[in-house]
Symmetry: C2
Subunit: 327 residues, 2 copies
DNA sequence: ATCAAAGTTGTGAGCGCTAACAATTGCATC
DNA sequence: GATGCAATTGTTAGCGCTCACAACTTTGAT
């Protein structure tokens, strides 16, 4: 910086002012300094800057299940938005989600001196742990509806489930089952509620519900038992991976989709359009979710008042696993 | 730090020595200092430390296609290994891979003052761009076989393709086609070579090859045309997503898998076991790939000599899309 | 011409840490 | 008991930057 100052014929402080866009710098000096900067290829030292400003321009992203479609996609949005807002993004992904591993990761971020933290951990216990932690920096949890202080953007899961059910009701189905995610997951619970509400509102009895674990394997097993019992004519599955397993189980069991049983998934992964048959599913914009969460966090970092959580709306994508029921 | 020193009754420098595991500190003082540290909940300031040591303990990870299975999985390994080695991980994922966006991301990392960079960008042009950049820090490119100076760990793609072909040959197939990835991608090219070599070595003529783009959609289209022409009895597909599309195309065209045509994929995504029918595929350990690459980088960061690239071996997972050919 | 107010630039200190060196201590040797 | 050496501890400076404040320059009104 001293070098730049010398070349531009000003003091180091003036260079600093140019760099920080201070108002009271004459345009001629500013130009001279900027020229010196490009001439010398000068880049300001982040460590020194952080030392005095006590801000690192870094956002920590705490994630789990990062190999899955939803979270990895959300991370993409988070990362892009953060970089666009001039922040560096540091990540820590949890191999296993335990209070200890969460605290460990938060400590890691505190050591690093991050300015804020985004949590992309869809597990239920997470938020209680986070409340204890009090990281001394703003913290936003993607998809959490729990605590006002730490809730980021979230997808209206309930509405997504409603969309799926209403579609099935319109097709004339009266016995609509649900293969859910683990009931203690926030998202899974919301989808269960949405399913039950929408079915009830349509004047129907909720069909059988099976609690799954999000995996294709468990979808397969659930599918086999549903195929055997045949108590429902339509099945709302809480994610596309389980739906894949269900489709295979039905295929093996001789259950025709959609003529015997209709199936609706959730997530709209890119592959879902190529399932056999192509999957009708509820799409959610994960990247947007990430982006919005960062916007919220950045606003808070730059001194804005905590705003209410924002909601991203899902939408239905109709493909070939749903058809009118006519028995 | 001054506070800790006061509590422990020593100078700040001694505290620093304890923190950095310097040898010449008596065990009694060390203990006293450590106790003071936990008592005060002291954490050393990274920015100040970086300022004087000129190292940030941060590794930058440059990625693209992060929503895909392979890259996101690799990132997981990279991230874990880096954290285990005491480094922070900063990420920048490219929305589109262009020389400009790559240079931009590298500049971002240089601004941040990362100690080293890992590149997880499977696009071919990347490496030429990286050679220009000369980031002034060690740089490792995952999966690159090109330049000695920047090659990290890589999967033996050629061997993977060979495994797939040999399996098909053993089953009695003589007309083995290939649905490849974009031919200018490093991985795709290696798989093409491996396929051609293995087929030739078995004393056969290579069957038809179609160049795809990794997507399920393109697999679907390729599958339709292959089903129509029926010039091969076995198809080696360069990734599982395209294989999914192929399976659907065959299903729609009335081609039975595996009795009419056998199919082998590549990657072994978790879903592949639930395709209809379950996919025989070549598995590769992406996390290991990431871990090894970081090990290489860290070694270089800590002053080790540049070592030759390490190789991760893939293996075949036989499921239900392959069967003996007997016509 | 004189002064106040605003605009512009420079000076000095210090953020929290580590590296180099200086000072002190303990201990074996002569 | 004096001497030398190693082990341990303390002192000082400075990494590159921003902040608070001081100093200077311009402008326009009196």
């Amino acid at each position: 910086m001293e070098d730049v100052a010398r070349v531009a014929g000003v003091s180091h402080q003036t260079v600093s002012r140019v760099l920080n866009n201070h108002p009271n710098v004459s345009s001629t000096t500013r130009e001279r300094v900027e020229q010196a900067i490009t001439e010398l290829g000068y880049r300001r030292n982040t460590a020194a800057r952080s030392l005095v400003t006590r801000r690192s321009q870094t956002i920590g992203v705490l994630g789990s299940e990062m190999a899955q479609y939803g979270p990895s996609r959300t991370l993409l949005g988070v990362q892009q938005a953060a970089r666009d807002s001039g922040y560096f993004v540091s990540i820590a992904s949890l191999r296993e989600v335990t209070p200890a591993s969460i605290k460990d990761a938060i400590a890691h971020f505190m050591d690093q001196g991050v300015d804020g933290i985004v949590v992309i951990v869809p597990h239920p216990g997470t938020f209680e742990v986070l409340q204890d932690v009090t990281a001394h920096v703003p913290l936003v949890a993607v998809g959490s509806a729990g605590d006002e202080r730490l809730s980021g953007a979230m997808v209206n899961q309930r509405q997504g489930a409603r969309l799926a059910v209403e579609h099935l009701v319109e097709l004339g189905h009266t016995r609509i089952g649900h293969l859910s995610g683990p009931a203690d997951w926030i998202d899974a619970a919301a989808r269960i509620d949405g399913w039950r509400d929408a079915v009830t509102e349509a004047g129907l009895e909720p069909g059988a519900m099976i609690e799954g674990d999000w995996s294709a394997e468990c979808g397969y097993r659930a599918g086999l038992s549903i195929a055997q019992e045949r108590t429902v004519t339509a099945l709302f599955v809480a994610n596309d991976q389980m739906a894949l397993g269900v489709l295979r189980a039905f295929h093996e069991s001789g259950v025709q989709v959609p003529s015997d049983i209709s199936v609706v998934g959730f997530d709209d992964q890119p592959e879902s359009a190529y399932f056999i048959p192509p999957l009708t599913t509820v799409a959610q914009d994960f990247e947007e979710l990430g982006r919005r969460s960062i916007d919220l966090l950045v606003e808070r970092l730059e001194g804005g008042d905590p705003r209410p959580a924002v909601t991203v709306e899902p939408y239905l994508v109709v493909r070939s696993t749903t058809a009118t029921f006519s028995n």
